[in-house]
């Protein structure tokens, strides 16, 4: 089998699993998860084979794996779709395959496989636990099998997106994931909050999607193709797009198309101002959060703009002035990175902290791409996928442990609130150590964690190219990141338990701890492939493989930035400083956040996420509802258009009435009636003749006959 065939096969197993589970194995939980995990494993295996083949190929960027078939016959042409694995998609495939497989395995434990059915559990609500021998124990998820079907479809969407060789099938995968995130965020659909969150996620990302769709058709119209290689690897084409004026906002065609596509990413990767859906997406079960926020959907947004980078940056050359589109990206990315980090500082829910940190980290990548740091953005995408999946799965493990305590003690507390935790280090050692690794990677703990290397590179690039505003904003965001991460670790694992449930928490099953352990390995090791060559002491020990490999994706290989001590020192300072501060502030925390008093009003604003939900509701959602009901339906359709029709109907009615009363009745009916009446009168007269008596008839006949005879004789005789 050729590698190209293998690539075609990568997305298929999860799709088959989706149909198999829904159509056949739904009733059997064990079979269903075997099908699901088996499919993820097959895709993983295929993915690894492809990845190894890609790495083994020399000058892979110039000779990627590609194959396509005709899909849409249009006029004389055929629109083709196909698969493409180049260096960028190879590494994306690598991290997606790994994280997806881990998430699938983790889901078995998370949804309490092997536990009894709950006494009062219903589909559409989280399991409430079952009573066994007088103890309350966790119960299995009522829609266990269906969960695997949904995440399998999700995985299909992501694999499709990664292996696509064109924007259209990328968009197909993109939207299938959108549907799956809708289904999975709303997995516990009977909860009104989950239902609303699912709708919000779908609609908010759809705002971005319709712009992206325009970007796609604009690109197709301008170039006649959507194939990545044909557009992005063709300097002539890119120059043409960069020089044509689009007529909108003074942008070039490339600039406008890039901007439209980028808005798609703003929605999908939850960048300000379309970030509002992501924190609410935490309504879904934890593996979903990991799936959405690490391995797949939000990564897909950034992947797309990394993929389209040559187009987004058309007309720009390294070290030169940024294009308008790139400036927009740099601004939105940097702003989002800082903005989301500030909100994360005040959140109490362990998953929400991670949600905001995801928004913030994606901001780092977007900003990096905005300033042209292509490799760093891709690098951070990979490392972030590993450590953020690790953190989400870890937080799920924590919640699971605390939920166990809640069931045991019967306490009425929120098992996701970090202020109800504390001291879990000894109860859940595996979860603790792996979470610590993930947290440190997120904070950019120097040298050993992957997050350090990738984040440091973004800062170094911003500094080297003189984008000081971006540099400072991101540095500040990094400081806050380290701070809120340590706050989270301290509140959750260190100190003393702040609730009975936390005291009774215990380690989760192996199906959950194994995946986080694997991910922890990557959260450390994934950084080693991208150590800059001139880094003090250890630089050059390992080749900067990542830069060389991924750089090959572009037509012109990007240069590595020159090493400079200042960004490194800043990077070290913010990471260590933030971690230290976080520990110092929160080590003795009680149920009250120690920052609340000193921050005062600011804390309330942050806690309420700058009131974006409320503002959007007031200026978009409610007016749209009123517009739809009052204007579009009641006013336009019912009052104006139907009113007009009814007026015509009424006029016709009236006209009809006039005809009837003043013409029909007197004239038509009148003349008719007159004839009838006349006939009747004659009839009445004649009736007198018809008595029915034969003698009388005979008499009349005789009289007439004689009369006639006399008349005749009289005439003749005269």
């Amino acid at each position: 089998m050729t590698t190209e065939t293998l690539i075609w096969l990568v997305p298929l197993p999860p799709l088959l699993a989706f149909f198999l589970i829904l159509l056949f194995t739904k009733q059997n939980n064990r079979l269903s998860h075997l099908v699901g995990v088996g499919a993820a494993f097959l895709s993983w295996l295929l993915g690894m084979l492809v990845f190894v083949a890609a790495v083994a190929t020399e000058h892979f960027g110039e000779h990627p794996f590609a194959s396509s078939v005709g899909w849409l016959p249009l006029g004389g042409d055929t629109f083709s779709i196909g698969v493409l694995i180049d260096p960028l998609s190879a590494i994306t495939l690598f991290f997606v395959a790994w994280t997806v497989l881990m998430i699938f395995i983790y889901s078995i434990g998370y949804h309490n496989f092997g536990q009894p059915k709950g006494d009062h559990d219903v589909p559409g609500l989280p399991p409430h636990g079952a009573k066994v021998d007088g103890h309350k124990v966790p119960s299995i998820e009522p829609l266990y099998a269906r969960f695997f079907a949904f995440i399998a479809l999700f995985a299909f969407g992501m694999f499709t997106l990664v292996v696509s060789d064109n924007l259209l099938t990328l968009f197909v995968g993109w939207e299938i994931m959108g549907l799956c995130s809708y289904l999975l965020i709303g997995f516990w659909y009977a909860k009104p909050s989950a239902r609303e969150a699912a709708k919000k996620a779908f609609m908010t990302t759809r705002v971005g999607d319709v712009f992206m769709l325009l970007g796609i058709v604009a690109l197709y119209s301008a170039t006649g193709t959507l194939n990545f290689r044909e557009i992005l690897y063709d300097n002539h084409m890119l120059m043409m797009l960069a020089s044509v004026d689009s007529g909108v906002l003074g942008l070039s065609a490339a600039g406008l198309i890039g901007l439209l596509l980028f808005i798609g990413t703003v929605g999908k990767s939850a960048q300000w101002p379309l970030h509002v859906w992501l924190p609410d997406a935490m309504e879904g079960p934890t593996p979903v959060s990991a799936m959405i926020h690490a391995a797949t959907m939000v990564s897909a947004g950034v992947y797309m703009i990394i993929r389209m980078f040559p187009l987004l940056s058309a007309g720009w050359h390294a070290g030169g002035d940024l294009t308008a589109t790139m400036t927009t990206m740099a601004f939105i990315g940097a702003f989002t990175a800082l903005f989301a980090a500030t909100i994360a500082v005040t959140q109490r829910d362990i998953k929400r902290v991670l949600a905001y940190s995801t928004i913030s980290q994606l901001g780092f990548m977007v900003a990096a791409l905005g300033i042209g740091a292509y490799i760093s953005a891709a690098f951070h995408l990979v490392t972030h996928a590993f450590f953020k999946a690790l953190l989400f799965l870890g937080s799920g493990s924590v919640i699971h442990g605390v939920e166990h305590g809640v069931l045991h003690t019967g306490e009425d507390i929120d098992p996701q609130d970090m202020f109800n935790m504390g001291g879990l280090k000894d109860k859940m050692p595996t979860t603790f150590w792996t979470f610590l690794i993930g947290g440190f990677a997120l904070s950019g703990f120097p040298l050993i964690t992957a997050g350090f290397w990738s984040k440091d590179e973004i800062l170094a690039d911003a500094f080297a190219n003189g984008h000081m505003a971006v540099f400072l904003t991101l540095a500040l965001a990094a400081l806050l990141t380290a701070f809120y991460t340590m706050r989270q670790i301290t509140l959750t694992f260190l100190g003393k338990p702040r609730s009975k449930s936390a005291e009774h928490a215990h380690e989760t099953p192996r199906t959950m701890t194994m995946p986080v352990t694997v991910l922890a390995v990557f959260a450390v090791a994934a950084g080693w492939v991208g150590i800059p060559e001139h880094f003090p002491l250890i630089g050059g020990l390992l080749p900067n493989w990542f830069h060389d490999f991924v750089g090959g994706t572009l037509f012109e290989h990007p240069e590595a930035v020159e090493f400079n001590m200042i960004p490194l020192l800043v990077s070290l300072g913010v990471a260590l400083g933030g971690l230290a501060l976080g520990y110092l502030v929160y080590r003795n925390a009680s149920a009250e956040d120690p920052l609340r008093k000193p921050l005062g009003k600011l804390y309330t604003i942050l806690e309420n996420k700058y009131y974006f939900d409320e503002i959007y509701d007031r200026i978009f959602v409610q007016p749209a509802k009123r517009f739809a009901e009052n204007f579009s339906y009641l006013f336009l359709d019912r009052d104006v258009i139907d009113g007009l029709l009814h007026a015509v109907a009424r006029a016709s009615f009236s006209l009809g009435a006039i005809f009837r009363n003043y013409f029909d009745l007197p004239v038509v009916n009148g003349s008719g009636d007159f004839t009838a009446a006349l006939t009747q009168r004659f009839g009445r007269i004649l009736r007198r003749v018809q008595t029915g008596s034969v003698q009388q008839y005979m008499l009349v006949a005789a009289l007439v006959t004689f009369g006639g005879l006399f008349y005749y004789l009289f005439r003749v005789l005269q």
């Binding site: 249009l74 659909y189 239902r195």
Partner: protein, 516 residues
């Protein structure tokens, strides 16, 4: 057989209707089954036509042609024939009719006339697609109205009243049937006059001749400049078809008719009848009035955009589930018209070809998904006897299979990539973008709110806490017969999303040959 295949397809339903009338009316199961069986014959014949299409002899771009003397005195003949455009519509019609009949097995009232009318309706619709003679076209155009009028008026939803003006009230279904009938007839009036004018001037009603002679006609007519005459005739055609599609602002009959019609009636209304209007634009307006179509295309595009936007908003405003789905047709047919307008404006360009491909494919796709949506709404209505979304909620655990189907069909209707609707919407948007950039961009607002009303429908019925009024007994899951109705539709939604080439090939050939 290829000589009279189309006549067979065309008249079997009508004959079937007569056969049904001869059956004993008290034996309802027999009547239903016979009607279903008879309606499958044209479908099978259409399949024969479909698979033999490439090999059938072709003349002037049309295959399976048959021409018989009919109205010799005025040079109108019984002339039928198909190309890819009409054949795909014939396939859609003959597929949806049996499904709609199967969907109406629950009708208990006057079963015999219902089925007979339904079959007669099929002949009316097929005739429009098959005719290659203007007068014949018009005859079938009008014939289809009558059965539908009675279907709505007699078997429509029994509840509800509509106030026309103060003191003037009417039962909703009577109002809807009347509005549907009178509105369409009003449009037909101009159409008939214009057709007669064409016939008189050209001395024939044969379309193949008219396609050649009419657009190139110069000079003056009736003391007017020919361009003026053509403009007037163009609008006579355009308004008749615009009402049928319907294009905003001629659309208000649609929500009433669709909502009040029985389930099967709504399926056919949305699935096929709306396509008659779009088909009229494609088959008659564009080829007969290329210049006028180009001239007035921006108006058409504007109205299409308004249909897309206001259709979506009005759907979002509904509390009545069926009315919500009805308005979605306004929204989706807007894309068909946008594609047609774009093609009319830039005839012969690559974008025009793409837009036309998209428009025709969208007609087919909308037929599939709208019929599915109306059927699913009907399934819920038969169980709960309400269409009010506020009285529903939390149905998913009670009806898991139904729920899955509703989500899938809704997503197809929304145009989710991977399902059928996306391909056609994408092609329309792609085709229209370089031609009507601003309108295309504006229509995205409608696409956004498509999401809003689709999700509203799903979340108000399936999601949320269970409304206590419903339980497993009064709300059982979808049954086998209902599954059988949905199965072909679901297969097509997925198949056309995954591999649209089998249908698009045929459409594309026709588009290239007919408009190229």
């Amino acid at each position: 057989m290829t000589d009279y295949l189309l006549s067979l397809i065309l008249f079997t339903p009508l004959l079937g209707g007569l056969v049904v009338m001869l059956l004993p009316g008290e034996n309802k199961p027999l009547v239903r089954r016979v009607a279903l069986g008879l309606s499958l014959i044209p479908f099978l014949l259409a399949l024969v036509a479909w698979f033999g299409f490439g090999n059938a002899p072709e003349a002037d771009g049309f295959r399976y042609q048959q021409q018989l003397t009919w109205y010799a005195a005025i040079n109108s003949s019984f002339h039928v024939g198909v190309d890819g455009l009409s054949l795909s519509m014939v396939l859609l019609t003959t597929l949806l009719t049996p499904l709609a009949i199967l969907a109406s097995f629950t009708i208990e009232d006057k079963v015999k006339p219902f089925m007979a009318l339904f079959l007669a309706l099929e002949t009316g619709m097929l005739g429009v697609f098959l005719s290659l003679d203007l007068l014949l076209f018009f005859v079938f155009w009008e014939i289809g109205l009558v059965p539908m009028y009675f279907l709505i008026d007699q078997w429509g939803s029994p509840k509800g009243e509509r106030e026309l003006w103060k003191g003037m009230k009417m039962p909703s279904r009577r109002y809807a049937a009347f509005k549907f009938m009178v509105y369409t007839m009003a449009g037909s009036l101009g159409l008939l006059l214009a057709i007669q004018m064409l016939g008189v001037v050209s001395g024939t009603f044969d379309l193949i001749v008219l396609f050649q002679s009419w657009p190139s006609l110069t000079g003056s007519l009736f003391g007017l400049d020919i361009a003026q005459v053509k403009s007037i005739a163009f609008w006579a055609f355009a308004i008749a078809f615009a009402i049928k599609v319907p294009i905003w602002p001629f659309h208000t009959w649609l929500p009433d008719a669709h909502t009040e019609a029985p389930t099967a009636g709504s399926m056919i209304l949305a699935g096929v009848l709306l396509k008659l209007g779009a088909y009229g634009f494609l088959r008659l307006v564009l080829p007969l009035y290329p210049e006028q179509a180009h001239q007035y295309a921006p108006v058409l595009a504007l109205l299409a955009t308004l249909a897309i936007i206001f259709g979506a908003f009005s759907a979002f405003a509904q509390k009545d589930f069926k009315r919500l789905v009805a308005y979605s047709s306004v929204n989706h047919m807007g894309f068909v018209v946008l594609g047609i307008a774009a093609a009319a404006y830039a005839a012969g360009t690559e974008s025009a070809t793409i837009a036309l491909n998209g428009a025709v494919l969208q007609m087919f796709n909308h037929g599939i998904s709208a019929a599915g949506m109306f059927f699913l709404v009907g399934v819920i209505y038969e169980r709960t006897h309400t269409r009010n979304l506020d009285e529903m909620g939390g149905f998913f655990p009670l009806v898991p299979v139904y729920g899955g189907l509703l989500i899938l069909t809704s997503m197809a209707s929304l145009g989710l990539p991977g399902l059928n609707g996306f391909v056609s919407e994408f092609l329309v948007v792609r085709g229209a973008w370089p031609i009507f950039t601003a309108y295309t961009a504006l229509s995205m607002l409608g696409l956004l709110f498509t999401g809003a009303y689709i999700l509203k429908g799903i979340s108000k019925t399936l999601h949320g806490p269970l409304n206590e009024a419903w339980n497993k007994k009064n709300l059982p899951d979808i049954n086998r017969r209902e599954l059988a109705v949905m199965a072909p539709l679901v297969v097509l939604m997925i198949w056309l999303g995954f591999w649209p080439a089998w249908l698009l090939n045929v459409i594309n050939q026709a588009v290239v040959a007919f408009f190229g």
